[in-house]
């Protein structure tokens, strides 16, 4: 019941906060709007994490003496609500920048509005490459959008890198089925998988895209079993609980490996009644993993304050506030165009690694640079109710463990 009380508490906080904002805006505060999905696993960490960052900055005297104020909007996971929230944030609440959503569809709907209303927007969790491809197509209008999370194609590359080290090399796996949900972010992800999996020696024997409304995954797992692959490479975010639970209850003997956004959340064990045991998932950070010196202090502070662990979008949202603050400092004010210029020059070590945006002229301007020296990502596995990092080696705290029902063909050979 903890989450219920927790929600009541944050609800009350939100009300109090909303009431408090009225007199507070008299000061020359910097306002950052947060448009997020309060009721979704990944989205619910965004606002608290941003709040935490703002409080830390304010405790150290703010940005050039100006306090940061976070204004939160719940978008109910809806593009229409988000557009309305964005309009309200800019026109009514006069925010200086917006941190928006983990859903690519929402960000894609907001992107032109950020351009139309000339307001800096950064997404802490959306993944679609299209967001940055759009910027390349119409830089002058869309330059206000920054992609604060990995693009899908980068994610695909990271998953392949991990698969090579964790599956192909030690277990001689040879074939894979891609299972991903039908959504904006998975189109480039799947394309990335299709390209990089064969390169590391995993033959793609089938490729299944399913509707995010799917509730019964039995036919899907069945089809996959029929294909006899060594591993299921996942690309799921909106769905999570149901495929995981049914994977376990049907004892599908093939490991799941890849992107499973909901699995990054610490409550996922309870949501699935432990069915997530043995699932591999990519993340930019994980509990107990000191990706950078800032990672663990953030997680501790978050856990102390809110009683649970942040989702992946929580880490990035926390960093985003710092980056926006820096940009304002560098720009010497809150003029949008100057903030954009300053953001483009960001070189910041945050909780998930070193953040540098790709420049104008790149096919994906304003996307994060990845790879050695920048952001490498992690591969974690749920083991006994804990998220254990197993890749890359230098950050690993444990090693692969297989649930009993997984039958490794290579091992049997």
């Amino acid at each position: 019941m903890k989450s219920a009380f927790h929600n009541l508490a944050t609800g009350a906080l939100a009300i109090a906060g909303a009431l408090a904002t009225v007199p507070a805006c008299a000061a020359d505060a910097i306002k950052i709007g947060v448009i997020a999905e309060a009721q979704a696993v990944a989205g619910s960490s965004i606002a608290p994490a941003a709040q935490l960052a703002a409080e830390e900055i304010n405790a150290r005297g703010g940005v050039d003496g100006r306090m940061i104020e976070i204004v939160v909007y719940d978008n109910h996971s809806s593009s229409a609500d988000s557009v309305r929230a964005f309009q309200r944030a800019v026109s009514e609440d006069k925010v200086n920048a917006v941190i928006a959503s983990y859903i690519s569809e929402v960000v894609l709907a907001l992107e032109p509005w950020a351009g139309r209303m000339k307001t800096l927007m950064i997404t802490p969790g959306a993944a679609s490459d299209v967001i940055t491809q759009n910027i390349a197509k119409d830089y002058d209008h869309l330059k206000y959008t920054f992609h604060g999370y990995l693009t899908s194609s980068s994610l695909a590359g990271l998953v392949c890198d991990a698969a090579k080290d964790l599956l192909v090399d030690p277990y001689k796996m040879k074939s894979a089925v891609i299972m991903s949900e039908d959504a904006a972010w998975t189109t480039p992800l799947d394309a990335g998988y299709e390209k990089c999996l064969p390169e590391i020696g995993l033959k793609v024997v089938d490729h299944i895209r399913m509707s995010p409304d799917t509730t019964d995954f039995t036919p899907i797992f069945n089809k996959i079993e029929g294909d006899k692959p060594d591993v299921i490479i996942t690309g799921i975010s909106h769905v999570g609980t149901q495929p995981t639970v049914q994977w376990k209850s049907q004892q599908v003997p093939i490991p799941m490996f890849g992107i499973a956004s909901q699995a990054t959340n610490s409550t996922f064990w309870k949501d699935t009644n432990g069915a997530v045991e043995g699932v591999f998932y990519n993340a930019v950070s994980g509990p107990g993993v000191a990706v950078t010196p800032k990672t663990l202090p953030f997680v501790d502070a978050f856990q102390k304050k809110f009683g649970n662990f942040p989702s992946y979008a929580g880490y990035t949202a926390y960093d985003d506030v710092y980056m926006i603050a820096d940009a304002i400092k560098k720009a010497g004010g809150t003029d949008s165009d100057r903030m954009v210029d300053a953001m483009e020059k960001t070189d910041y070590v945050g909780t998930i690694g070193r953040v540098v945006f790709k420049p104008k002229g790149d096919p994906n301007p304003h996307a994060l640079k990845t790879g050695k020296g920048y952001i490498t990502g992690l591969m974690l596995q749920w083991q006994d109710g804990k998220q254990v990092n197993i890749w890359p080696k230098e950050l690993a705290v444990g090693s692969t463990k297989w649930p009993s029902f997984i039958k490794l063909k290579a091992a049997a050979n």
């Binding site: 989450s3 929600n7 696993v41 069945n222 209850s249 049907q250 069915a275």
Partner: protein, 291 residues
């Protein structure tokens, strides 16, 4: 192999549909109410079971009990907060009560759904299953939970059948579904029949919700689709006909499963919808409805 797979998988899903629709059609049969908060009550029961078993750590049995009780409580709340005030209202013309009950139960469903999302977030939950593991049936690896689901569904439907056909109270309920006025004339208070029926409905919907939560998982997003599927099954079978609903549940369940296996999971619900349109057009009273 695929044939058996479809047969076994479809059986469990259909049993779940049947259980969900039975309560829905019972309420319609006896009191003429189309309860559009049906899906919300199912999800409410499932989430309560989840919260009790996983969050509070009470274990699967106590969790299921809490879920069933929640189902009954929500069912009574639906009756006393929305249906009865409208039925007894003098401000609403008789002819318009139907649309009012539809609107009010819809709103009530949204209220439950939002309350669930607020208290427990809207990510999907799975109720701690009572049985675990898999067994091989006819060469098909089947989760024990799936067999358990089908068994409990049919047990509940069978129990309902027994209660309705073998007890005085049950027969009175059955009689009321055919002819409420006849029941009044025999000195049986309709109001107490309604209470019985809503209690039975709560039990059925609650059980169906919990089983769904164990089998596939639920979230507050499931509310609308669950109501819509119960509504379609009941209309397909003929409004108020329990046996019609059972058969329709199997028609829809197998049609969906076969489509998911043989065509693509993405097209799962389309043939069932097409069938519904055809039936509406050719036989508006449903497959087994008289009238």
């Amino acid at each position: 192999m695929l044939f058996w797979q479809i047969l076994i998988d479809g059986f469990a899903i259909s049993a779940l549909y049947a259980l969900g629709a039975t309560g829905f059609t019972l309420i319609f049969g006896v009191s003429g109410v189309l309860n559009l908060s049906h899906g919300a009550i199912m999800v409410g029961a499932a989430v309560a079971a989840w919260a009790a078993s996983s969050e509070l750590g009470l274990g699967p049995y106590a969790g299921a009990l809490v879920g069933v009780v929640t189902g009954v409580v929500l069912s009574f709340a639906t009756y006393f907060l929305t249906v009865r005030p409208i039925q007894t209202s003098r401000k609403i013309a008789e002819a318009e009560k139907e649309i009012f009950i539809l609107t009010a139960t819809l709103l009530w469903g949204i209220i439950i759904q939002e309350a669930i999302a607020y208290l427990f977030t809207n990510n999907a939950k799975t109720v701690l299953p009572i049985v675990d593991g898999v067994v091989i049936v006819l060469g098909v690896r089947t989760p024990s939970n799936e067999i358990f689901t089908a068994f409990v569904c049919w047990f509940a439907i069978g129990l309902l059948w027994l209660l309705v056909n073998r007890t005085k109270r049950g027969k009175a309920v059955m009689a009321a579904s055919m002819n409420p006025r006849g029941v009044t004339l025999l000195g049986i208070e309709l109001s107490s029949i309604y209470l019985t029926v809503w209690a039975a409905y709560g039990l059925l919907a609650g059980t169906a919700g919990i089983l769904l939560g164990m089998f596939l998982g639920v979230s507050s997003y499931s509310v609308g689709p669950l109501t819509a599927s119960a509504f379609s099954i009941v209309v397909l079978g003929g409004l108020g006909s329990v046996s019609g609903s059972l058969i329709a549940a199997y028609v829809v369940g197998y049609l969906e499963t076969a489509t998911a296996y043989l065509v693509s999971p993405a097209y799962r619900t389309i043939p069932a919808l097409l069938l519904l349109v055809v039936v509406m057009y050719l036989r508006p009273q449903g497959l087994f409805g008289r009238r």
